[in-house]
Amino acid sequence: MKTLLVKTHEAWLATLMAALMSRTTENKRVLTEFSDILWRHFTWIEHDLIRRGIDYDYNRENIPIKVERLKVMLADVIRRLNDLEILLVRCEDTALKERIRTDLEYMRYALGKLEDEEVKAFDMNRRYRKIELDQEATDALTLFLFEESYKEYELIMIYNYLKAHSDDAFLNRIFQILIDESFFHLRSFGEMMAEMGILGVPRVIHESLYKVADIEKFLLDGIEEEIAAKEQCKELSDAVASKSDELAKFFDFINYQENYHIELMREAVAHFRAKRVDG
């Protein structure tokens, strides 16, 4: 089951990357929906491992995605789904096993029907929507996208791990909002990276980041990081404002979203402290 978790994690990311690299609306829609389904499988398999008291982590192999045609990536995703079906034999929860098996069967069928397309997500053109940015702004945007796409993936995995190991409804509501928000940011930044020809899979996150011993300290550090991320968004918005109103507005929009994340994390800290006082 642990291998099933790892391979589902890899299949989810490979499918998400395929969705980001696609420029065709229908391909993108199907791949995005399938990556969401694989993410849900991942969380269900994780729940099953926890229920059975099996230790696990979020380690995985690196995922090669540099292709020139989408059909190569689709074949890779289908191969991954085949591997998952074989690993599913070890799943003892028959309802879960049957649900995943039938999903895999349909996804392989539907992926085989998708049209091929040329992939430009790795051509390093470093231009976004024909917006003319100078070298400094282009470099700042490139660095920001690499740094923040990893950060959003990291946050998804950390909050998911915390949620999976918590039975506190108040905290879990907050964790779920933060997971959903990070999914939106990861997709937004990934779409920009694909269009700029610099798409990359976020690197593997270290165990110590999500197996958090002191959740209150983690949340306080997280608030500081969110404040720093806001600053970066503001700087980036200022740097591109004279060249692109569209980009400046987008980074302001992301910046303002961080305000709510900070408030939620402060609520979580207050809840933690109150619980500690109540004993």
Partner: protein, 156 residues
């Protein structure tokens, strides 16, 4: 930092990123200012008593600049004997003054993690159960303003 094709390659597909199952040595480079870390894993082969880095991997709990430094330095270290590895570390540390504070701290963190891993290999000869060696860096990264995350006023 100037971002060219080579740098984008290092960011999107860093060389040697990950861990090594059954590593012969593990070294950690740590920035005491902000808790950022680099972990280097080595597989070592010996030829007439001279150790050589057969395989190397690294993980970074740090920014993208550190990942780029790790990708570049571990690529250089791949396959070299320990003597050449020591030279690589010395050259890297000797060049830090040419870098920005952030780049210097990140490169130093990778270099000292490699040094720690090589030292760990040597120490394990007399003490096989010896845990990973950890060294702290001396360079200071860009100082960030201290804020109380529960009380700071929103700027935007």
């Amino acid at each position: 930092m100037v971002v060219d094709r080579e740098l984008v390659e290092h960011m999107s597909n860093p060389h040697n990123y990950g861990t090594l199952e059954d590593a012969d040595a593990i070294g950690i480079g740590e920035n005491p200012e902000n808790g950022e870390k680099v972990i280097v894993y080595l597989k070592v082969e010996e030829n007439e008593g001279a150790p050589r880095i057969a395989e190397i991997r690294f993980q970074a709990i740090a920014c993208m600049t550190t990942v780029v430094a790790g990708s570049i330095i571990t690529k250089e270290a791949e396959g070299v004997d320990f003597e050449t590895g020591e030279e690589l570390i010395a050259v890297t540390l000797g060049m830090l003054e040419n870098y920005s504070p952030e780049e210097a701290a990140c490169s130093e963190m990778v270099a000292v993690a490699l040094k720690a891993a090589m030292d760990h290999y040597g120490l394990k000869k007399s003490e096989p159960e010896r845990p990973a060696v950890s060294y702290k860096i001396e360079q200071s990264c860009v100082a960030e303003p201290t804020v109380n995350p529960l009380e700071s006023e929103e700027q935007n």
